[in-house]
Symmetry: C2
Subunit: 418 residues, 2 copies
Amino acid sequence: MSTFDPTSIATLSINGERLLQRLDALADIGSTGDGGCCRLALTDDDKAGRDLVVAWMHELDLDVVVDAIGNVFGTWNVGHGSPVMTGSHIDTVRTGGKYDGNYGVLAGLEVIATCKEFGITPARPLCVGVFTDEEGARFAPDMLGSLVYVGGLALEEALDTVSIDGKRLGDELARIGYAGAAPCPGPAPHAFVELHIEQGPVLEAENHAFGAVTGVQGISWQELTIVGQSNHAGTTPMHLRRDPAYVAAMMAVYLREIAERFGGDQVCTVGMISLHPNLINVIPARATITLDVRNTDEDTLCDAENLIDTFCFQIEQDEGVSITKRQLTRFEPVVFDERVIDLVERRATEIDGRVKRMPSGAGHDAQMLARVCPSGMIFVPSKDGISHNPREYTEPNEMIEGANVLLRVMLDLTELEF
Amino acid sequence: MSTFDPTSIATLSINGERLLQRLDALADIGSTGDGGCCRLALTDDDKAGRDLVVAWMHELDLDVVVDAIGNVFGTWNVGHGSPVMTGSHIDTVRTGGKYDGNYGVLAGLEVIATCKEFGITPARPLCVGVFTDEEGARFAPDMLGSLVYVGGLALEEALDTVSIDGKRLGDELARIGYAGAAPCPGPAPHAFVELHIEQGPVLEAENHAFGAVTGVQGISWQELTIVGQSNHAGTTPMHLRRDPAYVAAMMAVYLREIAERFGGDQVCTVGMISLHPNLINVIPARATITLDVRNTDEDTLCDAENLIDTFCFQIEQDEGVSITKRQLTRFEPVVFDERVIDLVERRATEIDGRVKRMPSGAGHDAQMLARVCPSGMIFVPSKDGISHNPREYTEPNEMIEGANVLLRVMLDLTELEF
């Protein structure tokens, strides 16, 4: 039962000044001094950030629960049934910005604070989740906390994960006081919606105010190790070479060809090339190259992988090298709930007509929650598409309006039966 | 005046067992335990290697002179006039083999020992030079000692060179006791001939026993720094990318195209690619790539450089990146003296008819001596073309016969007036 008029929701606004102040206060913890933030998962800085967010949850009189993988949930227990959940993460990469993740968590607190301040009592509980280790920058894989929450990774296996600095996840969780009692997997929410900066250039480049996120691109990460024959750059005639650097370059150029041939949402990236011994006058013995291939369509993603395999086979014959392939990550595309996408699009359009339905190229906790409940996401623009960088920036007004979209969508979701 | 019959030279042979034993004894100093050798210029190991070679020079009653850049000359003062010189170097790269350089020095000592043992008195002095820092692996540039010897680099400037470990060359020279009194530039020899392993695969691949080296390829080393825009690999559409890794790959593929279009002795190599930040899911901000381009013809080398410039200009426009070019090294091709080349070819053919006239793709001290006297080189095969590697290998018999070619050519040169 609703205790508010859905049409009047459109008159509500969150407290923008408080939201911006809290983003700055949280970013002070682990500040890198250049506008950026380094708060790797389960470090002392992560603990300090968590403590601050939990203090704000207590200020709102929320029920604060920590689960066995360290996810924190602040729930306003009103109404009946399972909660409408929002949430994101507060861990960052080593060269992180202020907004990635943090924005979604603090905007969630604003939604509850605003309801309380305006005397609105939703029909269902509202919950804000802070998921452990979304970035995967210290403990692989990324989105670990939300993955465990939905039962996609066994708790014990996750706790035994070892960090890049040689620490066990379970030990670090206990050390910072966030090894909670609530069981994993956790209960499915009624619905889940996450607010996030785009971390890409599309909204700004096309002059859109909001993205109604349709899903998350499937990801294929492969590492190719190309072994040839190291030799002297001056004394080895071209026809006697087995050059892994040349093969790595051919592969990078071919990957761009695939992206252009497929078009649409297809993206392909070579972000890492390592030659050994990497000297100006030595044909390398070995090259390592990574291939990051993403598409919203699983069949197309498979087509790209097959083309890469065929190219590797051909190039091994032509260039006399051997290529070993290692699959590093493989996620199928995630499709969000059409009803949630529609809701996001409608409420965003009320505030600013410039709304784009778009996939997310990056992974987010919402894609894990989509396994257990109707889910969706709201994007706001990222200046120059920059993220994971101290220069990560979204206009204050865009952030405030993004939180207002979240507010309206969450209240709508308390009314919607799936 | 000759005191021997030139036709009888063909019956002489150096002491192969001693040559091979000395190569092993020298390789024990700085041994890397895997068949390789690390004796970087002017280190303690280099000093120990020099001391051993100088002891062998004294055993032969040679006049041993050290010059101001640390070059060591062992001269057998017979006959009249300026000496016929051979020589090479005993410094190695960090992952060096046993033969590169060392072979030419020790074979030179065999030539003098053999003459003495067979009672031959040449018409001119014979001299064996050990040149400082040929590899350039600790102090740039390479071939430094021979360059200073022929007046191509001022002594003071050379002494002020700072090593990769922060030491001044002049100080290191004094520290190991090889800052000699003989002036630089030094006196021009009557002629110079250097014996060296090929360090390339051509002789073995074409089943030749010897190379009569016609000259040294000109070298152009360039470093390109490509600056684009770092962004998220998942969220940045292909058409909004300014991707330095892709541009580096295009350049590496284009460089191969140039080599294939030019054909002949043209070689082109990309040995080094460094991406920043070099992460799988980040379009790099910056790529650094080196271009090693060599040809025996100066005009063709210039043509290749011009094509690279044009390609850089075009790719900057097409891909929205900026490219900064730095010339690291530029040597014009060196042409050896036709009379010395003919002599090497004739004497080598006497021993084994499988002789190839060929350019050197690598730099050698002989190219510096060619500035001041008629010069040439003799190559013996390198197994699989491997050098600068513990697996560097030449068959014992090939090494002994190579030294015999050197013996005959040096004695011929004492008779030849230029």
